[in-house]
Amino acid sequence: MKEVFLYPETVVRHFRKPKNMGRMKNPSGIGKVGNLLCGDVLWLYIKVKKDEKGEESIADVKFECFGCVVAIGISSVLTTMVKGKPLEEALKLRKEDILGKTGPLPPIKVHCSVLAVDALHEAIYDYYLRNKTQIPEQLQKEHERIQKTLEKVEERFKKYVELQEKVFGAKKS
């Protein structure tokens, strides 16, 4: 049977054999995004190293994901893209950069790539926070947007579940 993919081949390949998967001991920063109720949770760990010139870069990166194929695959792709990269460069990473590497996603799955980028930026934010580094304005704004989106999604989702419960009388056991 010919292999036909619903998702870009690169994404599927990374889903099949994810790189940099697992928990990291003593990370320099962690980004936790997504929501359990929604079925998308991504935790991204970074280890940051300073070189002689004082430039900070991502020495190691790992991720854990409870989520769909694309979320897992894209997270893996992202880790390979940022490993060894200076933080500043990592901060410039956008979902378009990932999609440029993998090819386009179906519209319904675009948010999975947003999830990965958000996790990365949140990890860096966390690192800055822990190290009491001045947080760049842009990153601060991003952090706020992410937290707000998470809240919003959660709220919307809770409403959906509540509706289901009201309508369908769920919540038994």
Partner: protein
């Protein structure tokens, strides 16, 4: 192992269809010889399909899909019985084709009650009795659920509806041809069956409409199918459906025995996986349905893992544009969303072998384990 989604066409069915594509292609409404030939094939097929549900031939019309049947029943009885009332009761685990039709009717000013189910997915008869009102015109409870395989107490539901003088519709897309379906015993007024779930072609179904039932057509036009469903009759597919029914008539019982063995083995072995759970009823379930949820992992990933090993399966975790949406059926039986996200449906069919089952039992535990390794919750929910 995804026979509940759809089945391949039995080669004998395709063989039966062929002449109606190429030679006997007439329009069943035409008066000339080709037309009459089509007409005869149509009526013979109608008899076959009717007989496996113990219905009269004149009470069965053919459809373009199961979905069409549910849309016709919900909308057609609603509009035809508006004078009697505007209230309709549907179970909360109906197929989307029933639920979305109900929601559409809601927007047109009808009132819908969604009936709760217990943790096995069984409709509660008391709840039904309480939900019935003076102006209730229709109750819709499926025969067997397409996700968790639970078989509903349709006979009792039908009896109650009959006593109250309310139409009872049952979607038998998943049960017809697999377990006995009898419109008399079930006390149904309307019942839908589907060809592509039992090795017939896609795009064909049938609807039982008890004599005297007030219903409007969904497809208006040339007046085919006793004026109830217009469209040039798809004779080839209907002949194929009838052939599939004929085969199931003979093979249903032995096949159900085989499927039940597979099912029970799958359930027994899979429940040995840590943090795994059965969904649906342990015994009141379709012979070919085994349904689980696994903690800490997500369903789409799981079925893709299985797919990598050539195993087809299905999950109740589906993408929406902002997140994954857990199945309404799993929420209705009381699963938490994160639990519903980790669900897996395995449905066997007549081409499933013992080897296939063994293979799934070999691969599945590994797939679950692998995804748990990726999951942040490997040690338990936060």
């Amino acid at each position: 192992m995804d026979y509940a989604a759809t089945t391949p066409v039995d080669p004998r069915v395709l063989e039966a269809m062929k002449p109606y594509f190429l030679k006997k292609y007439g329009n069943s409404m035409s008066l000339h010889a080709w037309g009459r030939e089509a007409k005869e094939a149509l009526e013979n097929s109608r008899e076959t399909v009717a007989s496996l549900m113990n219905a009269d031939q004149e009470e069965v019309i053919f459809l373009g899909s199961g979905t069409e049947g549910s849309n016709m029943v919900l909308k057609g009885t609603a509009f035809a019985n508006r004078k009697k009332g505007k209230h309709i009761i549907v179970s909360s685990i109906e197929h989307h084709c029933v639920l979305e039709s109900a929601r559409w009717l809601e927007r047109q000013g009808f009132e819908i009650t969604y009936l709760p189910v217990d943790k096995y997915g069984l409709v509660d008869l008391n709840a039904l009795e309480n939900a019935i009102k003076k102006d209730t015109i229709l109750v819709s409870v499926m025969h067997a659920n397409n996700e968790i395989g639970t078989i509903e107490p349709v006979e009792e539901i039908g009896k109650l509806c009959r006593e109250k003088g309310i139409y009872f519709y049952s979607d038998a897309a998943q049960s017809y041809g697999k377990i006995p379906v009898d419109v008399e015993k079930m006390n149904v007024d309307l019942l839908m069956v589907d060809a592509h779930k039992i090795y017939g072609p896609k795009g064909t179904g049938a609807l039982f409409i008890r004599k005297g039932t007030k219903i409007e057509p969904l497809l208006h036009g040339g007046g085919h199918e006793f004026g109830l469903r217009s469209s040039t009759v798809n004779v080839a597919s209907i002949v194929g459906f009838a052939k599939a029914v004929e085969i199931q008539k003979k093979e249903m019982n032995s096949d159900a025995n085989k499927q039940t063995k597979f099912r029970d083995r799958l359930i027994k072995e899979i429940l040995k996986i840590e943090d795994s759970h059965l969904n649906g009823h342990p015994t009141k379930r379709l012979p070919n349905n085994a349904h689980f949820w696994f903690a800490y992992i997500e369903g789409e990933s799981l079925i893709t893992q299985l797919d990598m090993h050539g195993i087809a399966a299905s999950t109740g975790s589906a993408c929406s544009s902002e997140s994954l949406e857990p199945s309404h059926v799993l929420l209705a039986i009381g699963l938490k969303p994160q639990e519903a996200h980790g669900s897996l449906r395995l449905t066997t069919g007549k081409y499933t072998t013992k080897k296939d089952v063994d293979y799934v039992l070999e691969i599945l535990p590994k797939a679950v384990k692998r995804l748990r390794e990726i999951s942040p919750f490997k040690g338990g929910w936060e």
